[in-house]
């Protein structure tokens, strides 16, 4: 069963928070373990799954791993997901010469292996891999702030990088499928900062292409964009995908009114505001509010608007799941 069938056929409302870090509170592992060790990912997801009986498990969201495979240097810390430092590409010549890595290179192997391990969990949960989207990957190679300007100042440089990023991601997705993933959550956060026109030209075109090559009935792609607003929606839908995941800036009820009933939308509780800065009672209230606002939309799956920060307390996630449970009673 693909993701859309699973959601649309579900008798109850489903929840898909993007959470790995809260699992660490249960296993005692560090963030640095998660991003280097597939077993640590399995343990954290197994612990979360046992606690919440979720039909979904996820590989970690690490938006440095693909850029590192291309040759970017990263800064690692115990408590944060690694982050890319400096710029790998600063001009067209470097972009032309850039070699496309293979799935399995550097730490991408950890994420492929994590999927294999997650498939062995009891109860046969739906296994999501996580990866970055083409524009966000290109942006990490050239510098995120710089990429913004380059979309207007040097389109050719950006398109050269995007071609290579799309080639890599197509193969990476195929490798995830071969490893047993049922779906991939592809994060395209940097694209949310572009104009709708920019998003269309620098993200949607490439996502559409790689989905056509790498996705089929057996692999569902959920496109995540945590910065997009409602005015970006038409440009995002140009990808032709069947499932999307949005962040807090999206008017989710408005978006539900604009997509076909068989297109799944997930989102969009603010990860910092709702899961870190609010006490659990408020997390429950905000979760219940969003569920009430989206009642009747079978194509909506409640989620955090983005990856939960490492300092999100487990109590917040408890409160979130409790609210979903109440709504289902």
């Amino acid at each position: 069963m693909n993701f859309n069938q699973l959601v649309l056929n579900s008798p109850r409302r489903l929840a898909l928070p993007i959470s790995m870090s809260p699992g660490l509170a249960l296993t005692g592992a560090k963030v640095s373990d998660i991003v280097t060790n597939s077993q640590a990912q399995l343990d954290a997801q197994a612990a979360l799954q046992q606690r919440y009986q979720s039909p979904f498990v996820l590989g970690a969201m690490d938006l440095s791993v693909e850029a590192e495979a291309f040759g970017c240097t990263i800064a690692v810390s115990d408590s944060e997901v690694p982050t890319v430092t400096g710029r790998l590409i600063t001009n067209q010549e470097q972009a032309d010469k850039l070699a496309v890595p293979q799935p399995g290179d550097r730490r991408t192997g950890v994420y492929l292996e994590a999927v294999r391990l997650l498939r062995q969990l009891p109860g046969q949960p739906f296994v999501f891999a996580g990866c970055i989207g083409p524009f966000s990957l290109a942006a990490r190679l050239v510098g995120v702030s710089e990429a913004m300007e380059l979309t207007i100042a040097e389109p050719e440089l950006m398109h050269t990088l995007l071609e290579k990023c799309t080639d890599f991601l197509t193969n990476y997705l195929k490798a995830f499928r071969a490893a047993g993933a049922h779906g991939v959550i592809m994060a395209e956060p940097a694209a949310g900062l572009l104009s709708p026109r920019g998003l269309s030209a620098y993200s949607s075109v490439y996502v559409k292409r790689l989905a056509a090559e790498a996705s089929d009935e057996a692999l569902s792609i959920v496109l995540h964009n945590c910065g997009a607003k409602l005015l970006h929606l038409p440009a995002i839908l140009e990808t032709g995908l069947k499932a999307y995941h949005f962040g807090a800036p999206m008017d989710i009820v408005g978006a539900l009114g604009k997509v076909a009933p068989d297109v799944i939308l997930c989102g969009n509780l603010d990860p910092a505001g709702v899961f870190v800065q609010s006490p659990p009672a408020e997390t429950t209230a905000k979760t219940a509010q969003l569920l009430a606002a989206t009642a009747g939309h079978r194509n909506f799956v409640i989620s955090s608007g983005c990856d939960l920060p490492p300092n999100a307390p487990l109590a917040s996630l408890d409160a979130f799941y409790a609210a979903v449970k109440t709504a289902n009673q």
Binding site: T83, S145, E149, L193, L194, S195, K229, G273, P310, N311
Partner: protein
């Protein structure tokens, strides 16, 4: 003869080459540097800010406009200083220690420069000591701090406390911002001003200086 409307439009359209060329022509034709800034560049940046607020402009357009303005300002700044034209204020701007997000900070810096402030951009991952040095050595009278992570928000308070300990807190007004920052948080840590937008940063800076 320089067409000064072109300067306005070049900044608005993020065309750094034209902005610089027109500035050079205007200076050669004897135009007042201060007038170029006040009558043409500042209105352009304020229009950029307006367009950003109402989703006509996005981050790329705003960053390019900022670059165009900066190119002209580089030509004008030494002339302004030579004529004794003081900036409205001097802002030490930075993203707090531990935090590497700089897009929001850069937009704030651009809008402040467009509002007539001199901006001392300390970059990202800025230590309290760097802010203190900018106050002491560069005579900043406003400190603007950005944070995007819940884990780095506390470093804003640490920074303000360090300013107090160094005895420079009373020489400056402090404004803070960044996606997770709220007015309540700004009040709690003892900041003087807050804004959730880049254009609002200019009003916030004006307001705290009048207070």
């Amino acid at each position: 003869m320089a067409d000064l409307n072109q300067l306005h439009d070049a900044v608005l359209n993020g065309d750094a080459k034209t902005a610089k060329a027109v500035t050079e022509q205007a200076l050669a034709a004897g135009h007042e540097p201060l007038k170029l800034v006040q009558d043409h560049m500042m209105p352009a940046m304020s229009e950029v800010g307006r367009r950003f607020e109402c989703n006509e402009y996005f981050v790329p357009e705003l960053l390019l406009a900022a670059r165009a303005m900066k190119g002209s300002l580089e030509l004008l700044r030494p002339l302004l200083a030579a004529k004794g034209n003081e900036p409205v204020g001097r802002v030490a701007l930075g993203t707090v220690k531990g935090d590497l997000h700089d897009i929001g900070k850069n937009l704030v810096g651009a809008m402040l420069e467009g509002g007539g402030y001199e901006v001392i951009d300390l970059g990202v991952n800025v230590t309290p000591e760097q802010f203190i040095a900018a106050i002491k050595d560069k005579k900043a009278n406003i400190v603007a701090i950005s944070a995007l992570l819940t884990t780095t928000m506390p470093a804003m308070k640490t920074t303000i406390d360090a300013l107090k300990a160094a005895g420079v807190r009373d020489q400056v007004k402090i404004i803070v911002g960044g996606a997770p920052i709220t007015q309540t948080f700004a009040d709690e840590i003892g900041a003087d001003g807050f804004s959730e937008s880049a254009a609002g940063a200019v009003s916030a800076a004006r307001k705290v200086c009048l207070a």
